[in-house]
């Protein structure tokens, strides 16, 4: 491995006439935690979905560990094996128990045996305080528990990088903390992460760098103290002002 783990170069993505991403460039090194902030609709979710190849990009390149995974025809399944993504709405499989949600991909994609996969899943569930939920179905869990299971499910594939798309915004306020704690734990473990978030305080605490996405590109990028406290750009200041005003209401 030579360069950064993940390298975005001039990524463009449009839905019809709506040009959402207009040349996003960003390098993410191993063990980095990049917080993606920006107004609603600026393309945070779209960017994460493009990185995981859930959406094809129109122009630019996405290089992961020296492979251009965005090249048409690149084996998307093998690329996704190294990338884990967790969505705002959990998206657990409602017809499968927590244990089966977690072991499905390791067994079917990596070819792990049932007992190995379950042992690994139990270890992860233990680590995140969910061991007693292994046999439950998702509809029996609280939102916070569901989201933690979704994170465990992604981790079970042993990805090299994790993408989080506003994973706390569908949660009741008192459940946010338990999910953020999981992210803190992952950072201690050295996981490379990109997280789209509206929680500025959390971004400040956890991120090694903050990227402000606006107008389809990375408008400002830097350490959290700089981007969140002394932004260079007028539009970043405007956005942060709106966020703090909304917070006071």
């Amino acid at each position: 491995m030579t360069g950064p783990t993940l390298q975005l170069r001039g990524v463009h993505k449009a839905y019809g006439d709506n040009a959402v991403l207009r040349g996003v460039s960003l390098d993410i090194d191993e063990h980095e935690v990049v917080a993606l902030i920006g107004p609603s609709g600026c393309g945070k979710s779209t960017l994460l979905r493009c990185i995981d190849l859930l959406e094809p990009i129109d122009a630019g390149t996405i290089v992961f560990d020296d492979d251009d995974i965005s090249w048409p025809g690149f084996d998307v399944n093998s690329a996704r094996r190294n990338i884990g993504i967790v969505f705002q709405s959990f998206n657990l499989f409602p017809h499968r128990s927590v244990m089966d949600n977690i072991t499905l991909a390791p067994r079917k994609v990596l070819g792990a045996g049932r007992s190995d996969a379950e042992a690994q899943a139990m270890e992860l569930l233990n680590r995140f305080g969910l061991a007693d939920k292994a046999g439950d179905y998702p509809d029996r869990l609280s939102g916070g528990q569901q989201q933690r299971v979704a994170i465990v499910r992604a981790l079970a594939m042993q990805p090299k990088i994790m993408l989080f798309d506003e994973i706390t915004s569908a949660l009741d306020p008192e459940l946010v903390g338990e999910v953020l704690n999981v992210i803190r734990g992952l950072k201690e473990g050295g996981m490379t992460m990109v997280l789209a978030t509206h929680e500025m305080a959390f971004a400040r605490e956890i991120a090694t760098r903050v990227a402000f996405l606006d107008g389809g590109e990375v408008a400002e990028l830097g350490p959290p103290e700089q981007v969140l406290s002394q932004p260079q750009q007028e539009r970043t200041r405007r956005f942060l002002r709106r966020v703090t005003e909304a917070g006071r209401l």
Binding site: L54, N77, R80, G84, F87, F93
Partner: protein, 287 residues
């Protein structure tokens, strides 16, 4: 919850007694009213002027006993036809439904074929399909193909019901939110695995009640095979007998057996539908 005073329910015996008295009264009221209504209906029918003639040709005890062995033999065939057709229909219909949802360019011709199949077949009355296949194909004397009209009539039922059932399954597949597929693909499952382990199981669960309704209809439509005179299936047995004796009691006997077959399935379908509603209410709908 840390308060203790209200945690343990305190049962008031008088209240419990009042509740069970009320329950007993409700049961009594519904029993009495059911008997009254049924009694009135029976009375109305048997006192009407045409009743003796109707009883003679539709509810004749002698003919009923006489035809019973034939009908029972037919019952066996009906069940065999139904039980063998059902799994084949499910497989074919699932294949059709999945093919219609494939977007890759290589599947374009298959997708159009599946659409054409569903449209054409659903446009043809099942009885015409049975006549065409049951009489037509055996008459061709084709090498290597079975020449039994019964087989081809069975085949016509499979063709017809596959089209209907595939529409039900397709609705089920479309009702699974795209985010479920996205989650499966994001975990590295390929398109086939996402369908097999994530989308199809949820789709089938959701459409189980309408699927059961289709199978109730199929059970009854095995009677259509009688029109080509194949085998000794239930309606056919009744038909032969009725036309010999100018008495329609055999039809009534056959009808009773069909009811005996379909009512349990109907109750089961209702029970499944109710359970489904309870479940999705408990889950707070879908996310």
């Amino acid at each position: 919850m840390t308060t203790t005073s209200d945690a343990v329910p305190v049962y008031d015996p008088a209240r419990l007694q009042a509740i069970s008295a009320r329950r007993r009264r409700n049961t009594a009221v519904s029993a009495v009213s059911t008997v009254l209504v049924l009694g009135a209906l029976v009375l109305l029918v048997v006192t009407s002027p045409g009743w003796p003639a109707v009883r003679e040709s539709f509810f004749n005890g002698f003919y009923a006993r006489d035809v019973l062995p034939n009908i029972l033999a037919g019952l066996r065939l009906t069940v065999i036809l139904f039980v063998t057709a059902e799994p084949v229909i499910l497989v074919v219909a699932l294949f059709l439904a999945v093919v219609r949802g494939l977007s890759a360019p290589i599947f374009t011709p298959l997708r159009y074929l599946a659409i054409a199949y569903a449209d054409v077949v659903r446009g043809i009355p099942t009885i015409l399909l049975i006549l065409m296949f049951g009489f037509g194909i055996p008459a061709l004397n084709l090498q290597g193909l079975p020449d039994s009209p019964l087989f081809w009539a069975w085949f016509a039922l499979v063709v017809s019901y596959s089209a209907y059932v595939s529409e039900v399954l397709r609705a089920g597949l479309e009702s699974v939110h795209p985010s479920q597929r996205a989650a499966a693909r994001a975990l590295g499952l390929n398109q086939y695995q996402s369908l097999r382990y994530v989308v199809v199981p949820q789709a089938v669960r959701r459409v189980t009640p309408p699927l059961l309704n289709d199978f109730i209809a199929l059970q009854k439509d095995t009677a259509l095979i009688a029109v080509i005179g194949a085998g000794i299936e239930m309606t056919r047995a009744a038909q032969i007998y009725a036309f010999d004796a100018f008495n329609y009691t055999p039809f009534v006997v056959a009808a009773c057996f069909y009811i005996l077959l379909t009512v349990p399935l109907s109750r089961w379908a209702d029970w499944m539908a109710a359970r489904q509603r309870r479940r999705s209410a408990a889950a707070g709908g879908v996310l």
